[in-house]
């Protein structure tokens, strides 16, 4: 089905997204001059910088998670395309306060290469950077190839809290890596979204088919099914895929994120949540907090993803730390 989107010039999607977001943020965000990036206006003087970003079209991720207790800036590539090194470099310079800048972004070839080039350019200008990629998608077997999907929310949340209190960049990076070690997700696609520039669906899926494990750009997953199973069957299968991967087991305390990939309803996510909780409960996994809604979307793709993050007292404190951004705010 062709896309039908309320937009203006398809060539100017990203600057218009940034403009609209800066306006909506009511003074707390500002564009980084000259490039498709934005940053907080209340950046403290002494702080490890946190820069996030990736291709656009997944809003609110990454661009709307900028603010106190979250990222200091985000860089916006074109739709589904990693940002270019010049943008990343400018944003890096904008948030560097002498303590270096931590990069958190999804593990995709394009993002990796562009951020790496920017990191080298930053190093040439004397700015230290460290990178902790989001790589939570268990649908990819080889660990170093794992894509970054909605688990990005927890990783960015932790990184935001960590960079607020860390004395050094190395300390911050190590803390985020530690939290990331317990982060796993899997998605399921029910219907394709469309590229806003062309109106074409990003992938082909039969009217009745679904694909478990499909990535946030429609990258293939682990299992295509000829028909839509019940919420219970699907919820159990997705919980199993995630839980067996780490594995999460009896006595584990976790944060649970049910992410709407775009056009699914909160109704469906709530119905799935019953089953996820039942399955986790049977496995002895305790859910300490639940987040449910659109965190990382794929245009109007229908489907959802399930994320678990293993908690310890420190990670739980980072997740619970106060933050404020257009996409997510939390009291102290």
């Amino acid at each position: 089905m062709k896309g039908k989107k309320i937009i203006n010039d398809p060539e100017r999607l990203v600057p218009e997204i940034i403009e609209g977001l800066v306006l909506a943020a009511g003074g707390s965000l500002a564009p980084v001059p000259g490039v498709n990036a934005l940053m907080r206006t209340d950046m403290p003087d002494e702080k490890v910088g946190l820069l996030i970003g990736g291709g656009s079209g997944h809003e609110p991720m990454y661009t709307a998670f900028v603010g106190d207790g979250l990222a200091d800036a985000s860089v916006c590539g074109n739709i589904f395309a990693a940002p270019t090194p010049d943008i990343i470099l400018e944003a890096t310079k904008a948030v560097n306060r002498g303590r270096g800048v931590l990069y958190v972004y999804g593990n995709y070839a394009g993002d990796n290469m562009n951020f790496d080039i920017a990191a080298e350019l930053a190093a040439a200008e004397g700015i230290e950077t460290r990178t902790v990629r989001v790589m939570d998608d268990v649908a990819v077997a080889r660990h170093e190839d794992r894509r970054g999907i909605a688990g990005a929310f927890y990783q960015v949340k932790v990184a935001g809290a960590v960079c607020r209190e860390a004395a050094t960049l190395a300390e911050a990076a190590a803390a985020v890596e530690r939290a990331r070690a317990g982060l796993r997700s899997v998605g399921v696609a029910v219907r394709a979204g469309a590229l806003p520039e062309t109106g074409e669906p990003t992938f082909e899926l039969g009217d009745d088919e679904i694909e478990i494990g499909m990535g946030a750009h429609g990258e293939p997953g682990v299992e295509r099914r000829a028909s839509l199973p019940s919420a219970e069957e699907l919820g159990r299968e997705m919980t199993r895929l995630v839980a067996e991967d780490l594995p999460y087991g009896s006595g584990d305390r976790v944060a649970l994120l049910l992410n709407n990939l775009g056009a699914s309803t909160m109704m469906e996510l709530l119905i799935v949540n019953r089953t996820v909780r039942a399955a986790l409960g049977e496995a002895g996994v305790e859910v300490a907090r639940t987040d449910l809604g659109p965190y990382l979307t794929c245009q109007e793709m229908a489907g959802f993803s399930l994320t678990l993050m293993r908690l310890d007292a420190e990670i739980e404190r980072w997740l619970a730390a106060p933050c404020a951004s257009p996409a997510y705010s939390q009291a102290g």
């Binding site: 589904f80 070839a109 562009n114 080039i117």
Partner: protein, 207 residues
């Protein structure tokens, strides 16, 4: 065994850009089969900027042209292809420091480009990327006498290389997790590279 001068190389590179721009839909289709369906968009965006840079920026050496093209792609394409093709052309510039490109220099340029891409992205030959189109292009160009002949040979090698990616399992980029579902589909970046080299091989008109 004549080399190719700045003016002629510029005309050929412009034709290469035009070929990519014209192939936007075909490239996007290819990426829809194995990736996220944006390759044509990204390439057209990058090579349009590259076209403009070639036309506007001064070039004394042939390599300057490649550097302008690469820098424009790197800062406008985005995605994997922006980094890959940007790095490729910028690194290919180094062996082309003179006002004329000879056949050996052109082969050397392709090699420098692909080595930089490998260093950047960690992909190896056989991983189903544009590298698999460059490798046979280098081999073919190395045997050529003149520069124009080298480009001709490179184009043929790249076309065969791109075709051969159909039989490969993807190991890099967004097609990576496809596994054997990528079989039978050409790698979009390899296709781009071969289309670009094919246009580059055409003798330039009076550009």
């Amino acid at each position: 065994m004549a080399g190719i001068g700045v003016a002629e190389m510029k005309a050929r590179l412009l034709a290469g850009c035009d070929a990519i721009i014209a192939a936007e839909e075909r490239l996007t289709e290819a990426d829809r089969a194995v990736g996220d369906g944006d390759h044509g968009l990204a390439m057209a965006r990058g090579f349009r900027a590259g076209r403009q840079a070639l036309e506007e920026k001064p070039a004394e050496a042939v390599g300057d042209l490649f550097r302008h093209l690469g820098m424009a792609i790197l800062t406008t394409s985005g995605g994997a292809s922006g980094a890959v093709f940007g790095t490729f052309f910028m690194s290919a510039a180094k062996p082309l420091a003179g006002a004329e490109a000879t056949a050996p220099a052109l082969a050397e340029a392709l090699r420098a480009g692909v080595e930089a891409v490998q260093a950047r992205g960690g992909a190896a030959p056989g991983d189903k990327t544009m590298i698999d189109a460059v490798m046979p292009a280098i081999a073919a160009a190395e045997g050529a006498g003149g520069a124009a002949e080298a480009l001709q040979a490179a184009a043929e090698g790249a076309a065969q290389g791109a075709e051969a990616t159909k039989a490969m399992l993807a190991k890099a980029g967004k097609a990576r997790p496809l596994g054997d579902r990528a079989l039978g589909h050409v790698d979009p970046g390899a296709l781009s590279l071969s289309l670009f080299l094919a246009a580059l091989a055409e003798p330039a008109g009076d550009g």
